[in-house]
Each structure stands twice: as structure tokens, then as C-alpha cells.
Amino acid sequence: MSPIKVQETELPGIGKKFAFSLSSGERLVLVVHLTGEREVFLFRPKEEEPCFQLTLTDEEAREVALILGGAAFEPTPLPQADMVLKGMVIEWITVNRGSPLVGNSIADLQIRKRTGVSVIAIKRRGEIIPNPDPSEIILEDDILLLVGTGEQMLRFRQIFG
């Protein structure tokens, strides 16, 4: 299967645009606004006006992404090349004020041991900390990049959500 070519364009003052052609010949355009809002446009071949348009909030978009990514239900087996990632979910989680994560290190929290989920990066004040050290203290407003199965993610939410 040939990889899907996603065309990424900056839209100053608006956000970022991602566009790609679907196997049906239609063109899917996703716009991530600076405000966090997402817009989805579907264009029929050679058409310059969308036949479908949808606006999602940041929260709705993340939820839809999880479902589309197969976190909740995976109806068809994935091709061999994707088997490694089968059942895996990658998710960004924002650490809110009052969260049990705040002020504790990854090691102290025993995130992997208790939930199976791995913290693969932390976004802090716009900066990415890749492969954070287990001693890294989690701060309020940090955004954690987590990887795990749908079930493990659920456990994470139950314990730390």
C-alpha cells in the first residue's frame, strides 16, 4: 500500500492546513485553527466548493481521532506492515490543576507499572521533552504524549484522570 501523501500548509492568522487525496478521488482538507478548533472539508474531484463541511472543538476532535484511529473498535485486520502498531493508541493528555500527576516524577507515579502506558514525550511551554527521564517531575499544564493500548489508556484515565 503506497503511503498517503499529506500536504501541509501554514495559514498565517488561521492555523495549519492538511490536505490529501482519498482513494475515492475526493480531497479531504483538515484545518487546525490556532484556537484549537478543527474544520473538516470534503471536496469532490475537480470541485472547488466542499460537498461536506464540519467544525469540531478541540475535545471533540480528539475523541473523533481516537475512534477513527481504532482505539474503541477495530473492525478489519490491519495490513502486515502495520501489525507492530496494532491496537496501540497514541494520545496527548493535558495535565490540569489538581491532577494527581502534578508535582510527581514519572518513576514515583509508576505510570507504566500501574497502567501499562508509556510516557514518550512531554510538551512543556511549547518545548518538547522527548523520552523524558523517569525522574522528570510532571508540572501543571504539561501535555503528555502517551502510548499504549486502548485498554491501558482507559486504566490510565481511571487512575490519573
Binding site: 501554514e10 498565517p12 488561521i14 485553527h33 472547488e48 466548493e49 463541511q53 518545548e127
Partner: protein, 370 residues
């Protein structure tokens, strides 16, 4: 010192004005247009009921400074110099600035007057146009990309024109070119060589201090630029450029976005609040004449430019209709260089800017028709 009672009265007046502005923004939201037109109309209506407070001027100055800081911080030279963007930005400049400038010079106007008039006629309003694209939910349309890059290009050209015009000495009493040029040079050098370090330093500052640091620096450098014969907008733009390399603009945006929007809202409000029209036949004839020419020239830009960048027929039509509007930059230049303009032109351009803002809505309406 102000009496507590008069402070209270001013605060009540400010509160009421903010509520009227909120109502106008709400109406604009429902009719799907950018809120700035609502602020302008609110200013025109309320000029008969309130007197001008110093806080209006301060807030609108803050708006202009933060707007130019924002423009500087989102500048992407890579995006601008991409062939198709550069082609339409150049075409737009030739048709909408150079053509007017040359005609005015041929008609015998001094170069400064011709430059100021052509600059007021040149820019589509990036604030209003991009705001309208968002309101009309057109961010994913094929022509939107062309429009926003055209706006970015125009913003940059405007900053350059501002530097040239202020150096030509239209409005400012102090215009020592050496100071002005040295200021630009130092700011650009810092921007090129120290931008990344300064931005990294900023990201280490605790959040609660970060916005104060940005605001304080933008304002101080803006006023410093004014003192050396440039404009505060240019100083803020050059400071904003220090942050353009980092690619973490959303952090900056989060910290200053609200204050900028409030300030820009007051900028439009104040323009409406202070505007008065002298509607004699000569002024109206001149205003309508330049209006017709300017709409025609933007239409031409959209049609030819759209073809140049490979847009289809419908997208070209939408592009041509979407770039009529003149807004914040035309207003700003009109304010800054009012002394340089003959009275007839000043009055006609004022009428032109207001009419164009509203006619721009017709353009946008037409652009959304299938």
C-alpha cells in the same frame, strides 16, 4: 489628580462602551462577518453620547503595537518567497500601489503625497479579511491559502512603506534618518543572530511573567522607534520578528491574543468615534472615483493572480471578491499622515475607507454565492 467621582464616571462610561461593543460583536457573529465592522459602527453611533477618553487612545495604541508585533512574529519568509505567493504579492503591489503612485506623480503630486495616497489605497485589510474567512468557515477553500499569504505579503510591504514614509518626514517633528536607520539595523541584526537565544530565554520565563515581559518590551521598543523618527508600529514589528524563527508562536499568541484583540477593537471603535464626514460634491466624487478604481484594481489582482497560481474559475471569482476591503492599515496611514494630505484628499480617503469596509461585505457576500 483625578477625583474619585470622575474616575467612577469614566469607568462606567468605559463599561457601557464595552457592552455596546460586545453587542455589536455578537451581531457580527450572527451575520457572519468580522467583528471589527461592528466596533466601527459602535464608534460612529456612540460619538454623540460619550466624550473621548484618554483610555480609548491608549488601548488603540496598544492594539496597533500588538498587531504589528503579531505580524512580525508570524512572518515566514519561506512562505512568502515561494514562487506562487511571491508572484501574486508582486502583482498586487504593481497594480494596487505602483499604478496609483505613478498616475499621481504624472498628475503633478509631490512624491510624499503620492506615496501616502497610494499606500492608503493599496492594502486589503488582513484583520478584517482573515477574520471574515474564519467567520464564513472558508479556511479550507483553495483560494484561502492564496488570500492569507497575500495578506502577509501586504503586511510586510506596508511595514516597509511605513519605514520609507516616516523617513520622508510627513508627520514627525524629529526625523533624524541616521537614528531611524540605525534602530532598524540593530533590530534586524538582533533578529537574525540572536532570535533563537532570545526566544529560548523567553520560553524559560515563568508564564505569569512572560506576557508582561512581551508586552513591556513591545511597548518600549515601539515608543523608542517613535522617538527616533519611525513609528511605534514599526518598532513592534521588528521586535515581533525576533520571535518568528521559533515556531512556538501559539505560546506568544496565548499570552497576548486577548489584549491585542481588545486594543484592535478600540482602534476600530476610535476611528468610528472620531470620524466626521464633509459631504460636499467634490469630496464625494473623489471618494467614489477612487473607490471604483480601487475595487477594479483589486478585482484585476484577484482574477489575474488567481490564474497565475492555478486556481479554478470559481475560486478565482471568490478570491477577486474577497480582497476588496480596506481596513486597519488604511486607517492607520490616514491617521499618521493626515498632515501630509491635502484637505480634499483627506476627507475623500476617510469616506473611501468607511465605504470600502462596507462594500467589502458585499464582495464577501458575492464571494460566498455559488
Amino acid at each position: 489628580m483625578l477625583e474619585p467621582a470622575s474616575v467612577a464616571n469614566e469607568l462606567v462610561a468605559l463599561g457601557l462602551i464595552l457592552l455596546v461593543m460586545a453587542l455589536s460583536a455578537l451581531i457580527c457573529h450572527f451575520i457572519k462577518i468580522a467583528p471589527f465592522l461592528g466596533y466601527l459602527v459602535a464608534g460612529i453611533i456612540l460619538q454623540n453620547f460619550f466624550y473621548k477618553q484618554i483610555v480609548f487612545i491608549i488601548l488603540s495604541k496598544i492594539g496597533v503595537i500588538l498587531l504589528f508585533f503579531h505580524i512580525g512574529s508570524v512572518v515566514s519568509w519561506k512562505g512568502i518567497v515561494s514562487t506562487k505567493n511571491l508572484a501574486i504579492i508582486t502583482l498586487d503591489f504593481l497594480i494596487n500601489f505602483m499604478a496609483f503612485f505613478i498616475v499621481l506623480i504624472l498628475l503633478g503630486y509631490p512624491s510624499l503625497q503620492a506615496g501616502v495616497i497610494a499606500t492608503i489605497l493599496y492594502p486589503t485589510s488582513s484583520v478584517v479579511t482573515i477574520g471574515n474567512l474564519i467567520q464564513q468557515r472558508r479556511s479550507g477553500y483553495p483560494e484561502t491559502e492564496v488570500i492569507v499569504w497575500l495578506m502577509v505579503g501586504e503586511d510586510l510591504v506596508i511595514v516597509m512603506l511605513m519605514a520609507v514614509m516616516t523617513q520622508l518626514g510627513a508627520h514627525f517633528e524629529v526625523h533624524n534618518s541616521m537614528f531611524g536607520l540605525s534602530f532598524i539595523l540593530v533590530m534586524v541584526i538582533i533578529g537574525i543572530f540572536f532570535s533563537r537565544r532570545l526566544s529560548d530565554l523567553y520560553l524559560r520565563i515563568p508564564k505569569e511573567a512572560g506576557s508582561l515581559f512581551l508586552f513591556g518590551s513591545a511597548f518600549t521598543l515601539g515608543i523608542l522607534a517613535y522617538k527616533v523618527g519611525l513609528s511605534e508600529a514599526l518598532g513592534a514589528f521588528l521586535f515581533g520578528m525576533w520571535f518568528s524563527k521559533v515556531g512556538k508562536i501559539e505560546e506568544v499568541e496565548k499570552q497576548l491574543g486577548f489584549l491585542r484583540e481588545l486594543g484592535v477593537a478600540f482602534f476600530f471603535f476610535l476611528f468610528g468615534f472620531e470620524v466626521s464626514f464633509k459631504l460636499d460634491p467634490y469630496t464625494m466624487a473623489l471618494a467614489l472615483g477612487i473607490l471604483a478604481f480601487s475595487i477594479g484594481s483589486k478585482w484585476l489582482t484577484g482574477t489575474i493572480g488567481g490564474k497565475l497560481v492555478g486556481l479554478g474559475k470559481k475560486a478565482r471569482r471568490r478570491l477577486a471578491f474577497s480582497i476588496w476591503t480596506r481596513g486597519e492599515f488604511s486607517m492607520l496611514f490616514l491617521w499618521m499622515f493626515s498632515d501630509a494630505l491635502p484637505l480634499l484628499w483627506f476627507e475623500a480617503l476617510k469616506l473611501f475607507v468607511i465605504l470600502n469596509l462596507f462594500l467589502g461585505l458585499i464582495g464577501l457576500f458575492l464571494s460566498s454565492k455559488r
